[in-house]
Amino acid sequence: MRYKSGYDFSYKLSVGHVAWILHRLSGLALIFYLGLHIWVISHLNAGAESFNKVMAFLNTPLFKILEIGLWGVILYHVLNGIRLLLIDFAGGARYHKKLFWVAFFLVIILTILGAIPFLHHLHVLGGK
């Protein structure tokens, strides 16, 4: 694609580029979650009743499933973040593609492992 400025512009979606897009998207999701999270937890100051009311709303199957997604997003941002730290400070640029695949498979495995307790909680909630 050619812009008026004359620069050629193309997305070839190399490994590093996909890693960068996913890091931005996961980061965007996490800062919005953090804002909401701080507001939800601020209900602590209104006393036990107010806080438990909010928690009862969140201890539902829908949010348990969303939390599995949150866990996956956190894992990607943390593990790819470690990859970025290695690139910035430990010469990781030479093997950044391998590092991405290591991070990628760890994200998949740890997301599945982390989903087990959530699904168990879901089962407990469903059994009530």
Binding site: R24, G27, L28, L30, I31, L34, G35, I38, W39, I41, S42, L44, N45, A48, F51, N52, M55, L58, N59, K64, E67, W71, I74, V78, G81, I82, L84, L85, D88, F89, G114, P117, F118, H120, H121, V124, L125
Partner: protein, 119 residues
Amino acid sequence: MRKTFRRSGNSGAIAWFFHRLTAIYLAVVLLVHFAVMHFIGDGVLTYDKVAARLVSPGWKVLDILFLYTGLYHGLYGLWNLLEDYIHNAFWRAFIYFILSFGGFALVTLGTITIVNFRG
């Protein structure tokens, strides 16, 4: 290089480095935080369970650091992202103001929540 070139007093290098430092703290504490909340115990969060931790000064310090590093890291990252796509000087200043104001509000709300908590 032009003779008139002057090194800027604000290269952003310190902010960049602090983003990496906070990343290290967050990587460790966030995973511990998530595990304590969701993997240890029955996964049903209540006031009493939160209160049991938050009355101790150790957890308060850890959580306040968590709050500040998390907000710094997140807002710095968000600003970096927006800076890449918003080039108009007015909108940049506007977004920067919104992020600063939002950050200040969340720091205040979070600090009050943690410090004021008596159990």
